[in-house]
Structure formats: C-alpha cells, structure tokens
C-alpha cells in the first residue's frame, strides 16, 4: 500500500510540473508581461526598459526555468496589482477555496448518494423519475444562472442570506449549493447505475439468504461496491469544482483563489496568475491521488496492483 502511494505521488508531482510549464507558456503567449507591468499609457521606451530589467527579453524556456527555480525556493514574486508578495496573497485566499471545495463536495455527495440509492432501489418508479428530474435540472442550468436564482430567492425574497462577501459561514451557503448542485447529477447517475448493477449481483443474493435486513443489504453489501467508481469520479469532479469555483466565487465575491484568479486575469497580474494556476493544478493532482488511495482501500483487488 505504501509503495503504491509513493508511486502515485511521484506521478502526481510530474503532472503538476507539466501543467505549470504549459500554463507558463500559454499565459506568456496571451499577453505581453512588460506592457502589463508598465501600466496604462506607458511610453514604448519604458516598456523596453522594463522588458530588459525583468529579463523578459530572454527565451521563454530560460524564464520558465528561472521562475520554477524561484518558486521551488519559495519565492513567488510580487503581485503587480496588489503590490504585496504573491505568497501572502495566496495563503490568505487558499482556505476560503478549500472550505468551499469541501463543503460543495460534501453537499453534492450528501444529495447524490441518497438520491442515487433511492433511485436504484425503486428503479423505474416515480421516485426514480423525480431523482432524474432533479439531476437533469442541475445539469442543464448554467452555474451562474442557478446562482442568480439562489440570490433572488434566499437574499432578495427571503432575506435570509447575504448576497456577497466572505466574512461568515452564511456567506458560504449559497456558493456551496450552487457549486455542489453543479456536480451532484454526475454523482447521482453513477450511484444509481452502480447500485442497480450491484443489486443484481450474486453476493447480494447471498446477503439476503443470510436473513440480513434490507438496510444492511443495501448499505453494507451493495453501496460499498457501488461507490468504487464514485470515488474515481470524485477526482474528476473536484477538477470541475476548482474550475467552477472561479465562476461561483466571482459571482458571490467570495474572496478565495477562484476570485483571485479572476482578478489577476482582469488586471493582467502575471505573477499571481502563474502561482494560482500552479496551485490549482497541484491541488487537483493531490485530490486525484487521494481518490486513488481511497479507491484502493474500498476495493481490495486494486491494492495488489
């Protein structure tokens, strides 16, 4: 098991490195860093001077290696817009995004697992169709549109929740629902399909032959096997969550990494952009790793591989 984890960890680091390189080149191609640093209405000579001073005239590969070297040593540079060290900025926003990711993932699982199980146990009944309807709506509604509906209902009509900001737990409720509902349908469909397949397995008949009550047949014997593919999907969905958090954090002005990413793009804040992309990819890769390890724990047959 430990060898397996180490192998996966090594692979994870390589992926994160590759992503950071691709992101670096793409960002550099998307706009001129020197112009951005110089600011609005800067003279051409000043821009050239900045290009020389910051070493932006050197080949991209050299710049990337230098940036990587500095980053690995913990020097993330300084934000062009906020004028503060990127590391402090990112550390400040990171917890918000992690909390939002976890709460929305939790919300998605909390909704989709029971719904998926119900839909499978009562397959083709009205319960199944209701669950399907909930899923279809969740997948069809664009993220921002659903967020706006939430705002209208909870903030404007009911006046229960604050519209924007990130000062209290109440600020997290709507972003969590908006983001969680966005990924829940995929989980629900997978749980339903997995449960339907597993419920007709021979070992379920064995469990029933033992006289086990329906709840332990469903939750102990069936659900655990049906959850194996769900854990794998969690990794993929966490990627969507991280992506979705840029939209949702921006709508609700929730002060996390996603919002920071949005701001850094708006202000052409290259040092921030690069670090945020690197961090998001590292997070994504680590979460994937976590899902793989959980998978190995759930399905003993994978452990030996």
């Amino acid at each position: 098991m430990i060898g397996y984890v180490l192998k996966r960890l090594g692979l994870a680091l390589l992926v994160a490195l590759a992503v950071s390189a691709i992101a670096f080149f793409l960002l550099r191609l998307s706009g001129d860093a020197a112009t951005a640093i110089a600011g609005e209405g800067a003279r051409q000579e000043d821009i050239e001077l900045i290009r020389k001073t910051y070493g932006l005239d050197r080949p991209l590969v050299v710049q990337y290696v230098e940036w990587l070297w500095q980053t690995l040593r913990g020097d993330f540079g300084t934000s062009l817009y906020f004028k503060t060290p990127v590391s402090a900025l990112v550390l400040d926003k990171l917890p918000t995004t992690i909390v939002l990711g976890l709460t929305s993932l939790g919300f998605a699982l909390l909704v989709s697992i029971p719904l998926g199980v119900l839909a499978a146990v009562y397959a083709n009944s009205w319960i199944d169709r209701l669950a399907l309807a909930i899923a279809v709506v969740g997948q069809a509604l664009p993220n921002f549109f659903f967020a706006l509906i939430l705002v209208m209902f909870f903030s404007i009509t009911l006046r229960w929740l604050p519209v924007s900001g990130s000062d209290s737990w109440a600020h997290f409720v709507m972003p969590t629902i908006a983001l969680g509902y966005y990924v829940a349908p995929a989980f629900m469909r997978l749980v339903r399909a997995g449960m339907i397949e597993v419920l007709s397995a021979d070992y379920i008949r064995t469990a029933r032959a033992k006289g086990l009550p329906a709840r332990s047949v469903i939750f102990k014997h069936a659900l655990r096997n049906a959850l194996v593919p769900v854990v794998a999907l969690t990794a993929v969905q966490l990627g969507f969550l991280l992506g979705g958090s840029v939209v949702v954090e921006t709508i609700f002005a929730l002060d996390g990494l996603g919002y920071l990413a949005y701001q850094s793009i708006t202000y052409k804040d290259f040092p921030v952009m690069q670090v945020v992309v690197l961090l998001l990819s590292v997070l994504y890769v680590l979460l994937t790793l976590l899902a793989d390890v959980a998978n190995a724990w759930l399905d003993p047959r994978i452990r030996v591989a």
Binding site: Y203, A207, R208, K210, L212, D299, P300, R301
Partner: protein
C-alpha cells in the same frame, strides 16, 4: 396430512413460479409438491432449464426480479412461508434455513473479508459478540477442511480458489446450525477433482449435523449414494419422486428411465455418472403447456398423452406422472 407431522421440515404444496419475459409469461415451475423430513436428503435432478433453481429460490424467497411464486402452502417446520412477511422470512433465512449457490466465484462480496462475511448471520441471529462469532467461524472453517482457519478470516474472496470459496460458503451456511440446507449445484462450477471432495464434505456434514438437505446435482452417482429420496423434474414439473433405491431400481417414468439408462451400468449407477442425454429438446415453457410435456421425446407416447397425465402412487412412496401405470 403428513405435512403437519413435526418430523417434516419442508412441505411444498402446489408451488408455481412464473417469469415475465418479452415473449410472455414463462411457467418455470408448474404446480409442484414435495416434502423433506428432518435429517433427510432430497436430491432434485433434471436437465438444465427444468426449474430446479427457481424451485429452490422460491422456497428461500430469493427469486430474481420479474419472477413471482404462488403456492397453496410452503410450510417450513409447520409454518406457512407463503403467508409470512419479510421480517419473519429474514428471521428464518440464514438461521433455520440456509442456501449454497452454484457460483462460488461471485457469491461472496469482494469488498469484505471472509471473516466479516462469516460472522454476519451468527451475530445477527444469535446476538453473539464479534469474538464468539469469530470463534464459531474458525470452528466451522476447520470443519469444512480449511487449514489455518484463523488467517483465512482476514483474507478477501479474490485471494481464495473456487474450491476454497465454496467451502467458505458451506461454513457460512452452517454458522447458525440450520434445519434445512439447500444446495443448488454446489460443484458444477468447480474442477472435476474438487467436485467429489465438496460433495463428500456436504454429505458428511449433513449426516453428522442431522440437517435436512435439498441437493440439486447432475451427478447421478452422488444421488445414488447420498439421497434418501429423489425428485425428477422435467419442464417445470416433478415427473417422478420416491425413495432412492426404489427410483433407481424401478424407474417408472419414461424420462427417469432415459436418464438412468444413459449411464453405463443400468439400474446401479457409478460415482460420477452424469445425467443421460435424451434425444430431442425441452418444450417451451412460455404460455400454456398442454398434456404431457415429455411426449415429443417419449418412445411410449400415444394419443392419450395429449391430455394431462395422471399421478400414480406406489405403496413404497414412489409416485410418477404418466399415463402408464408401469412403464414397460
């Protein structure tokens, strides 16, 4: 009625199983009746597809989706299961009645250890502690011939061979010391060398523990050796039933004769003797089946066989469903 006697553990009266299919209702089991006494072994034989599995699953209330059962009476230890609720059935299953299936490779849950799956029924029905249940599991694993039982408890099904898994299934079925054990072709999926071992083990345990057993098997040699009674099924019906010696010595139904005659030594079969191959095919069980269902393949068939044949009973307890009083 004999089914009311308390030495009868299972009395099946008028059991039918229907399966909804795209082509219509398939009558997999058609109005069968039989009894199993305490401590007795009844073997259920017949070609594949004649309804043996559906019969055993119907008794255990484990029929797959789409299959429904009807019975005048399905008495277990005098209690009519056809009228019992799910709660009562669950209280009996795994405790008083247990079942072993044909496919040991898929019958165990891949996500849990052998130990976890062994102790479940015992903890549930006996309200036993984990330690007591594990002790019982180790004892039974030893009984079914599994060495170093203590270590096996921590292993997962995929770490065990098919033969070992079936031994585990047997131990699991015996955890609560059931009164009735139903074994549906428990060795068909195993290597030939292991088949004999497992069947011998089952027969020994049945005798030692005094359990009543319904054994479904293709091995007529095994049937001849271990069955007290034999029921022969054809196209969803029991066409002949009786004490083993009588049935093998004087098979009355043409189908039973066909099965036994196809084996090298007539009358007495050898161990490992398989069911005979009778020319022709089993009729479709979808829709109504009129008259004797064996008549397309029967050498004695005549006009009268187009009507439902009567059931004859001999004094020794043998009964058969045929127009012939005594097959020539």
């Amino acid at each position: 009625m004999s089914s009311l006697q308390n030495d009868v553990i299972l009395a099946v009266d008028g059991l039918s199983v229907d399966i909804a299919t795209q082509r219509g209702t398939l009558h997999a089991v058609r109005d069968i009746s039989f009894e199993v006494k305490r401590g007795e072994t009844l073997c259920l034989v017949g070609e594949s597809g004649c309804g043996k599995s559906m019969t055993s699953l119907a008794i255990m209330d484990l029929l797959p989706k789409g299959a429904t059962r009807r019975a005048r009476r399905l008495a277990f230890a005098g209690e009519d299961l056809s009228r019992a609720g799910a709660r009562r059935i669950n209280a009996l299953r795994g405790d008083r009645m247990a079942m072993i299936f044909q496919e040991p490779m898929t019958a165990l849950n891949p996500a849990y250890t052998i130990g976890n799956q062994l102790v479940e029924a015992y903890r549930l029905h006996r309200k036993a502690s984990e330690a007591e249940a594990r002790e019982r599991a180790v004892h039974l694993l030893g009984k079914v011939g599994i060495a170093s039982a203590g270590e096996r408890l921590g292993q997962y099904p995929h770490q065990l061979s098919g033969g070992l898994r079936q031994r585990v299934m047997i131990a699991m079925a015996l955890m609560c010391g059931p009164d009735l054990l139903i074994a549906d072709e428990p060795t068909t999926a195993l290597d030939v060398t292991i088949q004999a071992q497992i069947l011998r083990l089952l027969a020994d345990l049945q005798r030692e523990l005094g359990i009543a057993m319904v054994l479904i098997t293709h091995d007529l040699g095994v049937v001849a050796r271990i069955a007290d009674r034999v029921a022969v099924m054809y196209a969803g019906q029991i066409v002949e039933e009786g004490p083993t010696a009588a049935l093998f010595g004087n098979p009355r139904h043409p189908y039973t004769r066909g099965l036994i005659d196809c084996i090298p030594v007539p009358g007495r079969t050898q161990p490992g003797g398989k069911l005979g191959v009778i020319p022709g095919v089993v009729p479709s069980l979808v829709g109504d089946v009129r008259g004797c269902s064996f008549r397309d393949r029967c050498a004695f068939a005549r006009e009268a066989c187009a009507a439902a044949p009567p059931v004859h009973r001999a004094p020794d307890g043998q009964s058969w469903r045929c127009i012939l009083e005594n097959a020539a």
